[in-house]
């Protein structure tokens, strides 16, 4: 009887290993989504774990999905992620810090570990137009901002302001900060210029524009729409920048297009919405109308798989950052829109050939 619950695992990804791949070159490992003969949409770029990323000899182990011996301080139970110019910010809910994984300088720094602006349960991270890094803390009930030296420069959340601030996103054009308040079932919007609250929207419920324990948020850079993961209503809701309801999709269930524990959200330059679901250990991709486009991932430590996935982020270059909270890592994928394919003809052809091999 028990077995009836366990469906055969479908591997919907292709891992193509080139011959002679026993080097540390990350590009030797290719994972293209979806599998052939479909048009390639995403490819695997990198995996980040913390200080171990910049220690010699461990890269290969990490890449084939095995647990590398722990060296240095690494992600333990990460949740939120954001990135700008190859600097990746990841919250760790167990360690109570934000990892700053800086590929430009091949080093890892930390935010929120000093007495001023010390974090307890950092959830989500977002980057302002002046490169201030904002972090929500669901234990201290504040949102902090740190400058590039890690100095605390911003704090909101007077007593009673937030029930439990979780997902945050910044509209850099409007200089607005959107904060999801999970336990108050609403979204609070702040002006980053002075930290003043502009307005809030949503209340508890199941109707359009209402929430039941919402968690994560992302901004559609094309039109400034705000997209909220309404976790315990098993759906995704889209609002305009001022909080007016536009549309929704999703319901509970176990087939593609449905959700059970939707968490992280990212939106690419074409407006596709990526949702991580920690009950399915996968990521589903929808167009902005909620039409199902692709899903990938299963429970596991291998490439393209996730263990209890949490936050997602898509940067200006359409790089998707996907956190696996139990696997303690961030996997990075590149979404290839038409412009990318035009600008990177060689890489695109290579990926297409890989699919044909």
């Amino acid at each position: 009887m028990k077995r009836t619950l366990f469906y055969s695992v479908m591997v919907s990804i292709v891992i193509l290993l080139l011959a002679g791949c026993a080097t540390k070159d990350k590009q030797d490992f290719h994972l293209v989504l979806p599998p052939p003969p479909e048009e390639p949409r995403l490819y695997f770029v990198n995996v980040l774990k913390g200080e171990v990323d910049y220690v010699d000899d461990s890269a290969l182990d990490t890449f084939i999905g095995e647990e590398a011996p722990s060296v240095g301080k690494n992600l333990f139970k990460p949740y939120g992620v954001a990135a700008h110019k190859d600097i990746v910010y990841v919250t760790d809910t167990a360690r109570g810090v934000v990892f700053v994984i800086d590929d430009n300088r091949s080093e890892v720094r930390f935010l929120g570990d000093k007495p001023s602006g010390k974090l307890a349960l950092p959830v989500s991270v977002a980057i302002g137009s002046d490169n201030t890094v904002y972090v929500s803390d669901a234990k201290i009930n504040k949102v902090f901002g740190y400058n590039k030296n890690g100095k605390l420069v911003f704090a909101i959340g007077d007593s009673g302001e937030f029930g439990r601030p979780t997902g945050i996103a910044i509209n850099q054009e409007l200089n607005r900060l959107y904060v999801v308040d999970t336990s108050k079932h609403n979204i609070k919007v702040f002006d980053l210029k002075d930290g003043k609250r502009l307005f809030e929207f949503g209340k508890r419920g199941i109707k359009d524009g209402e929430f039941n324990y919402p968690t994560n948020v992302a901004i559609d850079r094309r039109n400034n729409n705000v997209v909220i993961v309404d976790t315990q209503n098993f759906r995704v809701q889209t609002f305009d920048k001022d909080g007016n309801f536009i549309s929704k999709f999703g319901k509970i269930g176990d087939r593609p297009g449905m959700f059970a524990r939707p968490k992280g959200i990212g939106i690419d330059s074409d407006g596709h919405i990526y949702i991580a679901d920690s009950a399915f250990n996968n990521i589903q991709i929808f167009d902005s109308n909620g039409t199902m486009l692709l899903f990938f991932g299963n429970a596991g430590f291998g490439l393209g798989n996730f263990y209890l996935p949490a936050g997602l982020y898509i940067d200006e270059q359409d790089k998707l950052y996907a956190v696996g909270s139990y696997s303690g890592r961030v996997q990075v994928f590149q979404y290839m829109n038409d412009a990318w394919k035009e600008n990177n003809p060689k890489k695109y052809q290579k990926l297409k050939q890989l699919q044909e091999e």
Binding site: Y7, P34, K77, G96, L121, Q232, G253, R255, P256, S278
Partner: protein
């Protein structure tokens, strides 16, 4: 038994079929009221008129199965129309329980992430214990809302650690515990899980299978 109660139980029985079939945790120990009135009913406090939400007490953990017949495949991958694997359910015959959280643990962890519900950080294996020590050395808070008792580990009274912890044999009877008559009922497959001490369907404080006054919860399994 009043008609309303009977009706309620019938509704719960039909909707909780997953609970019964999957893990043997049933509608027992007063749990028929339990899920409805506790935090584990995420609609608690909401007046829902919608009839289809009759399943609400169970669906938070027991995800309804949707038959995949004649549904549209994802547009970018026409081959991939199939149901998802819930909680990464694995073939458990040779599963390494001791080192990875199995399905039953992961059910809890999908919500207990510090965002939806209090954070649970597994500290069951050596790797994570190393992390914890390391965090201490660095002067960090070890974890917030963390859980110190090992889970995902074999219940082994005769092992070195088992003897250190004075573990009693699995056949030891338990009195007054919710959903368990002996230690063996707490550790199916001989594995310690969240559900060894907690019954998520119960109404008791912290969902404990027995309250811990005079350490009676601890003393269920530990000799001293």
């Amino acid at each position: 038994m009043s008609r309303t109660v009977t009706k309620l139980i019938v509704v719960l029985m039909s909707s909780c079929i997953y609970a019964l079939s999957a893990y043997g945790y049933g509608i027992e120990g007063g749990s028929e009221k339990g899920v409805l009135t506790t935090k584990h009913n995420m609609f608690k406090g909401l007046m829902i008129e919608d009839k289809q939400n009759n399943m609400e007490p169970c669906l938070w953990c027991h995800i309804p199965h949707d038959k995949y017949v004649g549904k549209t495949a994802p547009k970018w991958n026409q081959d991939s129309g199939q149901n998802f694997t819930i909680y990464g359910a694995q073939d458990e015959s040779d599963y390494d329980y001791a080192n990875r959280p199995d399905t039953i643990l992961r059910v809890c962890l999908t919500c207990h992430d510090g965002i939806n519900a209090p954070n649970i950080v597994l500290s069951n294996n050596e790797e994570s214990q190393k992390h914890t020590k390391e965090a201490n050395l660095l002067g960090q808070p070890v974890t917030y809302d963390s859980h110190q008792h090992p889970v995902g580990r074999d219940y082994a009274p005769h092992s070195v650690n088992g003897r250190k912890a004075s573990l009693k044999p699995q056949s030891t009877p338990l009195l007054g515990w919710i959903g368990a008559d002996s230690i063996g009922d707490l550790v199916p497959e001989g594995v310690i899980r969240c559900t060894s001490c907690h019954d998520p369907h119960s109404t008791s404080g912290l969902f404990l299978r027995i309250n811990n006054s005079q350490s009676q919860l601890c003393l269920g399994c530990h000799g001293k």
